[in-house]
Amino acid sequence: MSKILDELLYSESHEWVKVDGNIAIIGVSDFAQEEMGDITYVDAPAEGDTVAKGEDFGALESVKASSELYSPVSGNVVAVNEELEDKPELINEDPYGAWIIKVEMSDKSELDTLLSAAAYAEIAQ
């Protein structure tokens, strides 16, 4: 059984969101990293890029497959976790610690469409 943290919001495409004021911190769930297997490369956007809810903002590559990352919210990328460039395995080791991007949200109401931990647990199995 994969780990799901109660205090986070989730998307159906297995990204998690931690809300910090107007900033959304985005990563992928424990379920996603388990399904992907050993992650070998993180393709992330650059600081200053814009992302749109539901559209891809990068991709994860593992020995099994390449998988798109879909943004759970819209806004501007204000930070990118550069540590993942050399250490993509951090996502496997600690999926909820290894955030991928931080986004300054342009429409906070988009958060209402995301899943709670309980609702996400229904689909992540």
Binding site: D38, T40, Y41, E61, V63, K64, A65, E89
Partner: protein
């Protein structure tokens, strides 16, 4: 299989030779020069003289023969054993194809020879064009593309050309089913088109209702494989073709899975306008390991005016592969070509039905040339034991002398194990494979660690794919 990884240089021993070459002074040029007292070195222009020592391995003939024979035995191919690699159509390649492709009258041709001296080669191209047109229901083929993905790009450029010539430049979207081969969206992207995914239904087929809202004046076309990646025939293809044509788009057929339809069903009759064939798969040429391939593109009535190929060019893609394909078609003949598809389909269904009690079968309907299992039914997981995965099953198959099936593709299933036996295997070989697959399932149920440690008998265990991908060493 004996492990062997020596370099020929490791066998080298100073002064050892297999053959003694005659002195250069026996050759008229040197005989003449050197008779007047000129040293051999001085007889050769300075710019043609080697400055450094020639580093060649010094070995006897038997060393050379054993070295390369041992290396060749480290390999596995269709000539060594059963190769059920799903989506790859690793059928047996008759040796007559090789003989014909290696015939000096063909192998010695130069692409820049005058056209009137290559009438034979031109006749082969024309004959193959006519045969493929008859088999697929297309009007004509171009043989320039050197592989499947090259064919896809060529086909999509033709699609774009068709729309542009009609001043219909708003068509920038290509619809691709979620079960498509990865090259389809990649080719569309390289061609500068946008990719729109259409979902499959629970039956594994393109959902016509999900397709309808995607169609419109911005759609250039749809790319499909039929049977699709799950080995299922897209039964709604007639309706899909009608809808796509109605909105002004074209249909592209990825010939990767043409094998089961060979001589039975024609993409042209299904409504496809452009297609490519993988000659190296369907028409039996040794492939894998990067080639050589051949991906001729065929077009129907609509697109024919845009296929402008100089028919007298000496550069017609991989001509050797075309020769093999033509030899294969002529050897089978009209009647027997029709048997390839049904036999490939029968083999796949036989394995599927024989193993469905041990392996999860997500889509239980009749398949075509290939099908997908979703891992073991009983993976042996219990207190203190991790279950065996599809990777473990694949590795264990190597111990029993079979090539592993395609694994973790298509992505629709998490433990995908994709098996394509082809029509060239005997019932005995299929039965042997089935027995081994059952044995592996029983081993997993009893102790999954047997599988986790596999392969136990192969010369190389499990290479660390993760480390190789994370820290690739690309230069010596």
């Amino acid at each position: 299989m004996r492990y062997y990884d020596k370099l020929i240089f490791e066998l080298s021993h100073p002064g050892r030779t297999g053959y003694s070459l005659p002195s250069v002074q026996q050759y008229p040029f040197f005989a003449e020069k050197c008779s007047s007292g000129v040293a051999v070195d001085a007889a050769v222009p300075a710019n043609l003289l080697r400055k450094s020592k020639l580093e060649l391995p010094e070995v006897s003939e038997v060393d050379v023969v054993r070295h390369y024979t041992n290396l060749s035995q480290m390999n596995f191919g269709v000539d060594t054993g059963f190769y059920p690699l799903g989506s790859c159509t690793m059928k047996y390649n008759p040796k007559i194809n090789e003989e014909i492709a290696n015939h000096p009258a063909f192998a010695g041709l130069h692409p820049l020879q005058p056209a009137e001296t290559v009438k034979g080669a031109q006749a082969v191209i024309d004959g193959l064009d006519a045969a493929l047109a008859a088999i697929t229901g297309m009007k004509h083929f171009t043989f320039l593309p050197c592989a499947g993905a090259h064919g896809e790009l060529t086909g999509l450029m033709l699609m774009r050309e068709y729309h542009m010539a009609r001043n219909d430049s708003a068509r920038v979207k290509v619809i691709v089913p979620d079960s498509a081969h990865g090259t389809n969206p990649a080719s569309a992207a390289v061609c500068g088109l946008q990719i729109v995914e259409v979902k499959s239904g629970a039956d594994g087929l393109v959902d016509v209702e999900a397709l309808k809202p995607l169609l419109g004046p911005d759609v250039a076309g749809i790319m499909m494989t039929n049977p699709n990646t799950l080995g299922l025939f897209e039964r709604q293809i007639g309706e899909i073709a009608r809808l796509v044509h109605e909105c002004g788009g074209l249909l592209y057929y990825d010939g990767a899975n043409m094998n089961p339809l060979l001589g039975k069903v024609r993409p042209g009759d299904m409504g496809f306008d452009i297609m490519h064939l993988n000659l190296h798969k369907t028409f039996s040429t040794p492939h894998g390991g990067g080639g050589p391939g051949s991906g001729p593109v065929g077009v129907g009535e609509r697109v024919l005016p845009y296929l402008r190929i100089p028919q007298t060019s000496g550069f017609h893609g991989n001509f050797g592969v075309m020769l093999r394909a033509y030899a294969y078609i002529l050897m089978l003949g009209k009647q027997n070509v029709k048997m390839a598809g049904p036999l490939a389909t029968l083999s796949a269904n036989y394995i599927k039905e024989s193993l469905k009690d041990c392996y999860k079968l997500p889509i239980p309907t009749v398949c075509k040339h290939e099908f997908v299992f979703d891992g073991l039914i009983n993976d042996g997981a219990r207190e203190g034991k991790t279950g065996a995965t599809t990777l473990d099953v694949a590795k264990r198959l190597l111990d029993y002398g079979f090539h592993a099936p395609t694994i973790y593709f298509p992505l629709l299933f998490h433990q995908a194990l994709m098996i394509e036996p082809t029509e060239t295997e005997s019932l005995e070989t299929l039965d042997e494979f089935i027995a081994v697959m059952k044995k592996i399932a029983a081993e997993a149920a009893e102790d999954p660690d047997i599988l986790h440690g596999a392969p136990h008998n192969a010369p190389i265990g499990r290479p660390d794919e993760t480390a190789a991908a994370r820290n690739p060493i690309l230069k010596a």
